[in-house]
Amino acid sequence: MRVRSTTFAIGIAALSLLLGGCKHSQGGSITTQAVRGLPSEDMIASVPLGQVAGEPSLSVAALSISNPYQGNAQAIQQGKQLYIRMNCAGCHAYNGKGNMGPDLTDAEWRYGGLPIQVYKSIRDGRPQGMPAWGVALPPKDIWKLVAYIQSLGGTVSPEDYEHARQGDQPGEQVAPEAQADAQLASPPPEAEVSPVPSDQPIAQPGLAPTMIPATHPGTPVAPKRKTKPAEPKASEPQP
């Protein structure tokens, strides 16, 4: 009797564990599921690049499409992998700060910093050298890239987009930290003449490999030599 009820209890426990496991967040090996479906092609197509003529402050519903992968840690990780493997890092730098392509971490977006606008920039390409990835990458992958870019901090939140469009954003102080370097203001150092350093061997052709110390053949400890007294010359320009 006791054995049977124990078995029963164990069976129930196992079953509940199994069922509970189904709701567990998907492991990294399984396709990352979007929290809700991806935005439809029609919605995406309705996003204008510029202001709507005739009603410049019109709020366009499609602009507030949010990224279905936003904040999803696995999607961000996969987006980061895509960012490297699709050579985004080559143009936009490995930390997103920009190189041939613009900085993706700051608040400045030529074609818009909303998730849907960034999505369209990636998908459609842009005239100054940004390739169109929509043919090669399926929408899921592009949204994952957008999620990664969002994680870098520079994109505009869909809730905020009207303010961003009208410039109602706080400015940023980008000054450096306290400059301890007073040298920046001081006059340049005197050049010090260095004699031929005696500890640096000169490579001779024809001999066995000569090891040249890989040290900085750097300046100087020789005393400064005075320059010769300047000779006066006629130096006015001729009329």
Binding site: I84, R85, M86, N87, A89, G90, C91, A93, Y94, N95, G96, K97, G98, N99, M100, D103, P127, Q128, G129, M130, P131, A175, P176, Q179, D181, Q183, L184, P187, P188, P189, E190, A191, E192, V193, S194, I202, A203, P205, L207, A208, P209, T210, I212, A214, T215, H216, P217, G218, T219, P220, T227, P229, A230, E231, P232, K233, S235, P237, Q238, P239
Partner: protein, 636 residues
């Protein structure tokens, strides 16, 4: 009162006597290579190395007709109106702002009292009339390059200058066109498409003219291009020959005349066999910097870029002919010799830096050499007839190589400094931009020394395997750059090419990425990335004059004689280029100054020029063809 007058008389008499005495006792032995217009009042042993330079094609001394000044790339001017005595009186004479904002790497040209200024993308060319006050614009040429090219230039949308030939100004647009513009009218004479910008290839180098040929090359070492150099006809723009930097011997124009000095460069089709199957097609080896020419040997000298991708483990083998200095016959383009400075280049060191041609004595023997400061931090003195390395010694801090084997002509690589994918390699020196980048050095026949802006930088690097996706970077280097020991990022130095040693140097907090100018006045000019433009005594290295400009300086200074017979120094300020573009990559203290600037500065003694001074000056004021004999005019 009487005493005072007596005192004054005696003082002035003493001054006169003193002056006469000094003038009398100062030796008046001429310099070793007397240049025209030079008083040559320097002591006999002033030329430290005994080097002589050939200034062919001997352009007029008051003009500046090519970026490098001459075939030998000396960047030396025989003008000495500005010299060590008066350079401290340099003041701004006039400026010109060109309306663009990216890195200004080019030098202006001065031909026939007209100054030609080219901007970075969109590559606008201005002609300024130097005979009129205010240097008004004579014409403006807008070439309309493709905006796609903005996204394909690794190191800012720069151009390194225009060339002048036969009444035409010839230069490369970022989108792979070479254009020729009539110097008088500003109209386009011809335009040749050299490549397809959509594949990621761009052109940034200054064309180099030899006789009736103009030599151009491509950019794109980070984009997996197929590197090449080509010769075009100066008058028509027709392509005469093209030599690729990888591929078969036919592609690379290597034939029976090819006689490299070192054994590892001998063999058939090395441009294919030193690469894994097929990778040479996107192996780069682009030609994006300087070319020099020896008229007596009829050879041009230039270097090729790094191999693509920048991840060495993806492309085992020597990866010829990347990171290689070539000597080619200028008429046929056939290679005479080659020397690879960094075999299987693992750090993007390239070999594109300028080759300055000089004749000097090495170990007692007179040799025709080229002097080359490579990005790999070695300074080479190479026999330019044969390709033999005579001297190779580090000029900047480096730790990637533990020595140099003179027998085989190869550097000995430290295995700890070899990058591998997904492994962070710390403290590799120099970084990809090298101990010295494209910023060109100058040589003086009076001192026999070579002057260069160099770097003192290291990097941490992590490689990532790179896919080749056309028009995107074929790269893979994830870097962080920072100052090397010493803390300074830049340094200006004088180098003795005969002994392979630094003579003196000036450390700078920020990068020194400008070209160098040295003159017969024994003054050398250079600029820093934070905007200091300096004049230095070419013998002692003492800084004689400094001026803070509006933006960092990565351009090349020139000097010319204005129509008012004044000597002027011109330099563009406008920071950009590799110095600031990759903000993640260099700890340049990047927020200390903004990236972008665009002003051409022209200096003269006391700032005197037609374009500054009291009174209402205007464009109508100018210099007539023959200047008035006697003094009073509205010039100062």
């Amino acid at each position: 009162m009487r005493f005072w007058r007596l005192y004054k008389f005696r003082r002035s008499a003493a001054c006169v006597c003193f002056t006469l005495i000094i003038a009398g006792i100062s030796p008046s032995i001429p310099a070793q290579t007397p240049a025209p217009n030079s008083p040559g009042n320097k002591p006999e042993n002033s030329n430290v190395t005994g080097a002589t330079l050939n200034f062919a094609p001997n352009d007029p001394p008051g003009e500046w007709r090519s970026q490098a000044r001459d075939y030998a790339n000396t960047r030396y001017s025989t003008l000495d109106q500005i010299n060590t005595d008066n350079v401290a009186k340099l003041r701004m004479a006039w400026t010109f702002s060109d309306g663009t904002l990216n890195g200004h790497e080019a030098a202006p040209l001065v031909v026939d009292n007209t100054m030609y200024v080219v901007t970075p993308f969109p590559d606008i060319l201005f002609a300024l009339d130097l005979t009129r006050a205010g240097e008004p614009i004579k014409w403006t040429f807008k070439p309309n390059p493709s905006p796609i090219s903005k996204g394909k230039a690794c190191c800012d949308t720069v151009t390194r200058g225009v060339a002048y030939a036969n009444g035409k100004l010839i230069y490369n647009l970022l989108d792979d066109h070479t254009v020729a513009v009539d110097a008088k009218t500003g109209k386009e004479v011809w335009r040749t498409k050299m490549g397809n910008v959509e594949t990621g290839e761009t052109m940034t180098m200054a064309p180099f003219v030899v006789g009736k040929k103009v030599l151009v090359g491509d950019s794109g070492g980070e984009m997996g291009v197929w590197g090449w150099i080509a010769a075009l006809d100066v008058d028509t723009g027709k392509e005469l020959w093209r030599a690729y930097s990888t591929g078969s011997d036919k592609d690379a124009r290597i034939g029976a005349d090819f006689k490299p000095f070192y054994d590892r460069l001998k063999g058939k089709d090395l441009g294919i066999s030193t690469w894994p199957a097929g990778m040479w097609k996107h192996g780069a080896g682009s030609v994006w910097a300087w070319i020099s020419f020896d008229p007596s040997l009829n050879l041009i000298y230039y270097g090729t870029s790094n191999p693509s991708p920048r991840v060495p483990d993806q492309r085992p083998g020597d990866n010829l002919w990347t990171s290689t200095i070539f000597a080619r016959d200028v008429d046929s383009g056939m290679a005479r010799w080659a020397y690879q400075t960094t075999p299987h280049d693992r750090w993007d060191y390239d070999a594109v830096n300028e080759d300055i041609l000089m004749d000097l004595a090495i170990n007692g023997q007179e040799r025709k050499v080229l002097v080359h400061f490579d990005r790999n931090a070695y300074a080479y003195t190479i026999d330019r007839a044969t390709g033999e390395v005579l001297k190779a010694s580090p000029f900047a801090y480096q730790n990637w190589s533990s020595g140099f084997d003179m027998k085989t002509g190869t550097p000995i690589v430290d295995p700890d400094k070899e990058p591998h994918p997904n492994v962070k390699l710390v403290n590799v020196c120099p970084p990809d931009i090298g101990g010295k980048d494209w910023q060109p050095a100058a040589a003086s026949p009076r001192t026999g020394l070579v002057y260069a802006d160099i770097f003192n930088i290291c990097m941490d690097v992590t490689d990532h395997d790179a896919s080749y996706i056309p028009s995107s970077p074929y790269d893979g280097m994830d870097m962080h750059r920072y100052p090397a020991p010493g803390g300074n990022l830049g340094e200006f130095m004088a180098w003795n090419p005969a002994t392979g040693q630094k003579v003196w140097s000036i450390k700078e907090t920020y990068m020194t990425m400008s070209g160098v100018l040295v003159t017969a006045g024994d003054v050398a000019f250079y600029g820093t990335a934070d905007g200091w433009f300096r004049a230095v005594d070419a013998r002692s290295g003492k800084v004689l004059w400094s001026q803070k400009l509006g933006s960092g300086i990565i351009g090349q200074p020139i000097t010319y004689m204005g129509p008012d017979h004044r000597q002027y120094i011109a330099i563009s300020a406008g920071i950009g280029g590799a110095a600031t573009v990759r903000a993640d990559v260099i700890a340049l203290r990047p927020l200390d100054f903004p990236a972008g600037g665009n002003t051409l500065y022209v200096f003269s003694i006391d700032g005197n020029s037609m374009s500054s001074g009291p009174g209402q000056l205007s464009e109508k004021d100018g210099i007539s063809e023959t200047p008035p004999k006697t003094g009073k005019s509205n010039q100062h």
